[in-house]
Amino acid sequence: MIEVRSLKIDYGSPGSAVRAVDGVDFTLDRGRSLALIGPSGCGKTTILFSISGLLLPTEGTITISGTPVTGPRRDVALILQNAGLLPWKTVWQNANLSLLLSGDYPKQDAGAVLDELGLSEVKDRYPAELSEGMKRRVGIARALSTAPSVMLMDEPLASLDTLTRERIQDLFLTLWRTHKFSLILVTHDIEEAAFLGQEILVLTERPARIKERVENPEMGGLDYRESAAYTQTVRKLREVLEK
């Protein structure tokens, strides 16, 4: 379970601080999914970085499975906007990076995950040789390699073409159901939020506050995009964002 209580985050020094997040509260039960949506620059990345331990809250608390977050931890994986791959490492090295950093490689490796994602064939290639869709999958492989209980995604599919994006959204959904991690997805894409979030928090302009919580209980099927409930959630989100 992830608990975020009265989260406030300022940038800059105390005298000339800029508030990016101004009192955000939510709880996410184990294995559930949450989408955070809001205008760009509102503080979404800031919230995600604080949950991943990269940034300490100015006020408020974040706990994961009962322990306060004080820094990056092994059971929490973060996927960044452009997959966060290192260009000088091969697919194999990128996928195993988290395990290498924690000292678990080569006792454990990402071989099985690469198989699952259909990347075994390209494991000796460098990121520059891959299509955008493949790069995202390598980023996912690295995140999954440590079998995390929490997966954080920061606009992971921005700048992908529509078809590739939907294919990878389908992949996210499948992985979320099979690997059973808790998912927090940051996006500015309404359709993505509606497809992947069981609950969707709509944020205000900076500083981020929760404008509205939208429940999306019927999500979870690959054909959800064809359903009436999906269309309704999308419409609802659009209304709230425009308000």
Partner: protein
């Protein structure tokens, strides 16, 4: 095949320009002042053993100086590039000392290191140290933040960030500064070797023969050019191994 032809054509053009220059200079002055390439090359062959001796002396000084400059300049450059507090402390020192012509210190170096190889290596290493330090610092400053965040979120320690991100990301720029260092290093090695008239080294050899046996002096210059070329090719080869990722994008997807 086509590339080899271009290289050959380029060398021929160089020899041709040299020969023309030699003919022109000698005609204008009505005296054999500038030896042509073929005279110089025949002196290379004639004095091969002696030249090799001086070549090796210069080569190991230059290589040692580059290695010393790398071993000091890279760590200091990368850390000042990444650690703001260290940068605030060291930047003023660097920018005050960087523009001082390091040759100004050469007599001082002779006093400290004597007239042997020590001074020559120290002179060149000092010049290249700044060159490499400034490049490494600039490279480290320009690393996209997302690379750092990506490994930090995976729990990387500070040392791991340097090893897995900052060093490899800066390596292409560092190798470029090594290429620049070869040319710069040869120039300063020449100065250091001619200042210490005694002893081995191509600088002394060239200087010694420049007045009365100019074709031998030019044979020495050819040897010095060859030294630069060999080191250049070595750095290119090293880059192809160490920065293989930079060359793959040209391969088909």
């Amino acid at each position: 095949m086509k590339r080899t032809l271009t290289y050959v054509a380029s060398i021929c053009a160089l020899l041709f320009i040299w020969e023309m220059a030699s003919i022109a200079v000698n005609a204008i002055n009505n005296a054999p002042l500038l030896p042509g390439p073929f005279n110089a090359l025949s002196q290379v062959v004639k004095n091969a053993a002696e030249l090799q001796h001086h070549f090796l002396a210069s080569a190991w000084r230059l290589i040692l100086a580059i290695l010393i400059a790398l071993a000091t300049g890279v760590p200091l450059g990368l850390t000042t590039g990444r650690e703001p507090t260290l940068d605030r402390f060291l930047s003023p020192i660097i920018y005050i000392t960087y523009p001082i012509p390091q040759v100004a210190l050469i007599l001082f170096l002779f006093v400290v290191f004597g007239t042997g190889s020590g001074t020559k290596v120290a002179m060149v290493a000092l010049v290249l140290f700044f060159q490499i330090l400034v490049s490494a610092r600039g490279a480290a400053k320009n690393i996209p933040e997302e690379h750092i965040i990506s490994v930090r979120s995976a729990g990387a320690s500070r040392w791991q960030i340097y090893w897995h991100v900052i060093l490899p990301a800066s390596l292409p720029d560092i190798l470029t500064s090594v290429r620049v260092s070869i040319g710069l290093g040869i120039a300063f090695l020449y100065i250091a070797e001619t200042n210490a008239a005694l002893g081995t080294g191509l600088g002394g050899y060239i200087n010694k023969h420049m007045l009365f046996q100019r074709d031998r002096a030019f044979a020495g210059i050819i040897a010095l050019a060859l030294l630069g070329l060999i080191l250049y090719l070595a750095v290119d080869g090293l880059e192809r191994i160490l920065c293989r990722w930079k060359y793959v994008s040209r391969r088909a997807r």
